[in-house]
Symmetry: C2
Subunit: 358 residues, 2 copies
């Protein structure tokens, strides 16, 4: 198979982890006889520094013509502490999602057995948990009108959804539920929000088309609680952009660490694959970042954008095998991990590559 | 001390749990020589059924003239599954908050030692956790303009904050931080939302007035994750209405169960004290509800609205003693709880009253 992949490392640890991800792509191509070509592009803070824009046109053009994008992270503490900054790294990320029509963000939360103890949650609560989140990614309060009014003393954002936006993501979730345990949980705040009532109406109106799927509705506050209390009660979860942002970060504790979670953003055009962790400037450049979320993003990329199931599974097995051999990055190590098994970013990458080459 | 207390049971298990709360008030009055008088009023679904309105004028008038309100819960599944209902129980709750100017919702999350094992989170992660949430309660997307447009095909809600609204709640949080471990965490989504950037600006502008307090900012997604990963890193947390709704429900897992958490809503007028759990229609009328959140709401009421510290501490000690004696309601029991120690609502109430009378 001939494919062109755009690597977009972005900010912070993005460069370190996508570097490992790209090596995995190279080894997979070699092993399975594919021809992958690569290019690179800027986004976020590094793009602002280089071009003044968080998403240069050149990056967007390259994204549109690529077969898939391997993405790192965006963000920089400089902007977080300066609420008045006009140009911000996150604008690049949001613009990319909108321009590429990446309305469906898939976040699988699956615990590798070996990491049962890495979580703050009890192993008996976690064992067997396996959740697939569908987070809507191009609507909601992320893209509604926002403004300062009243001489700067008041600020508002608009939480907004149209039926067609809800319908297309909810359909994807129903379809995924069909291939899994036929349970769909939709999360909203319909007891307060009009946009949530519209969301719930759409879910209810589509349900009869999927009679084999059992639908449940939860309010976001209850869902945030139940996710920790009893993660196994969830299978496929569909929710809006903001609630999805919150719930999936929270759910990272089910997988032991945020450093283990990959995501796929798909929609009208090129799919984008990225870790759910952010730019993590506190550990940037130290070689400490866990590259496994980027490695697992590559597995999602091969599966979803290229339909290469065997290749994808080979990667997941390699991750499993490395964990079984006892290797850990710092974020998933605990007090019983022997010091010589605690690896940095590249050494962890090496372990994965070795197994892929074997 | 002479005080007039309005009991507002509301919907579902509200009646069962406030009944126990009121008995506790009666025993405290008797024991400490206070003269408490009581009245009752309707809110929520029961008020709609009786009067057509989720917050009848009569209830509001009684609330304004009371010295404190002991509140139950509102909500009914009938409305949750009917997104198009025009009159809803929650409107009564929101109107009450707005009309009484209850802008500060205090939610203390403290784990009773005996319940270390009731949580899904590991005991070693929980031990010593003690968080005081300040949730803003009269602004945000709860009270901004909301509407259907585009022939009903689009819906929006407005997330809105003015500086003075943020300032008054943040000041309360700073002041509380001073009396505790001098750490304040403010939670927002300033990397995306303009209302969050205004929120963060206000926190930053007030910080110099409280030089003894260390301020940290977290994004809501990271906060939802950190709360589970390492609850002990938080002390006083201040956040907006929506993020506070989500985080405090999630945090209930730190206290073992939602059935243990009380809250105080205070502001310009009468304070309202209520469990953070909802109406729980699945167990309504079965005598199974945990009354301890209502009992602990009474403790908050006596402390905050009446300044009766000793009385408040007597109640907390009674709860502690009942738990030490091994008594549990179903929600906080586990497989090692002997069957004869698993109590219903009234039997649990009896245990508390006995200790207060002793
Ligand atoms: C960086 C930020 C804007 C982004 C979001 O909120 O969507 C991130 O948290 C994510 O989940 O991808
Ligand atoms: C019932 C609902 C409207 C309410 C809220 O969201 O504020 C409840 O969840 C709460 O936290 O008091």
């Amino acid at each position: 198979m001939k494919k062109h992949i755009l690597v977009v490392p972005g900010d912070g640890i993005g460069a370190e982890v996508t570097n490992v991800g790209k090596q995995v792509l190279e080894v997979i191509a070699q092993k399975f006889g594919h021809e992958f070509t690569y290019d690179e592009a800027l986004i976020g803070h590094v793009a602002i520094e280089a071009t003044g824009s968080p998403l240069p046109d050149e990056t967007l053009t390259k994204m549109r013509s690529a077969d898939a994008v391997l993405f790192g992270a965006v963000g920089h503490p400089k902007y977080d502490n300066d609420p008045s900054a006009k140009v911000r790294p996150e604008q690049g990320l949001l613009k990319m999602r909108k321009e590429l029509g990446l309305y469906a963000n898939l976040r699988p939360i699956k615990l590798f057995d070996e990491l049962l103890d890495a979580s703050s949650i009890k192993p008996e609560i976690l064992r067997g948990a396996d959740i697939l989140f569908f987070r809507e990614l191009t609507g909601d309060v992320y893209f509604g009108k926002r403004e300062r009014i009243d001489e700067g003393n008041t600020a508002y954002d608009t939480m907004i959804y149209s039926k067609y936006e809800v319908e297309r993501i909810v359909r994807k979730a129903f379809e995924a539920a069909r291939t899994r345990s036929k349970k769909l949980c939709s999360v909203d705040k319909a007891n307060v929000l009009e946009s949530s009532r519209l969301w719930r109406e759409v879910v209810q109106s589509l349900a009869p088309e999927y009679p084999d799927v059992t639908v449940e509705h939860q309010f976001i506050d209850a869902a945030a609680m139940l996710l920790i209390k009893d993660p196994k009660r969830f299978d496929v979860v569909v929710t809006g952009n903001l609630f999805g942002d919150i719930l999936t970060d929270e759910a990272s504790q089910i997988a032991g660490s945020m450093g283990m979670l990959a995501s796929a953003s798909v929609g009208d055009s090129t799919g984008v694959y990225e870790p759910i962790h952010g730019s993590a400037h506190d550990i940037t450049g130290k070689g400490l970042a866990n590259p496994l979320a980027s490695v697992l993003s590559v597995a999602l990329l091969l599966d979803i954008s290229f339909g290469l199931k065997a290749e994808s599974e080979t990667i997941i097995s390699a991750v499993d095998s490395v964990l079984k051999a006892g290797f850990r990055t710092r974020d998933i190590a605990n007090s019983t991990t022997p010091a010589d098994k605690v690896l940095g970013t590249n050494a962890m990458g090496e372990q994965i590559l070795q197994r892929l080459l074997a």
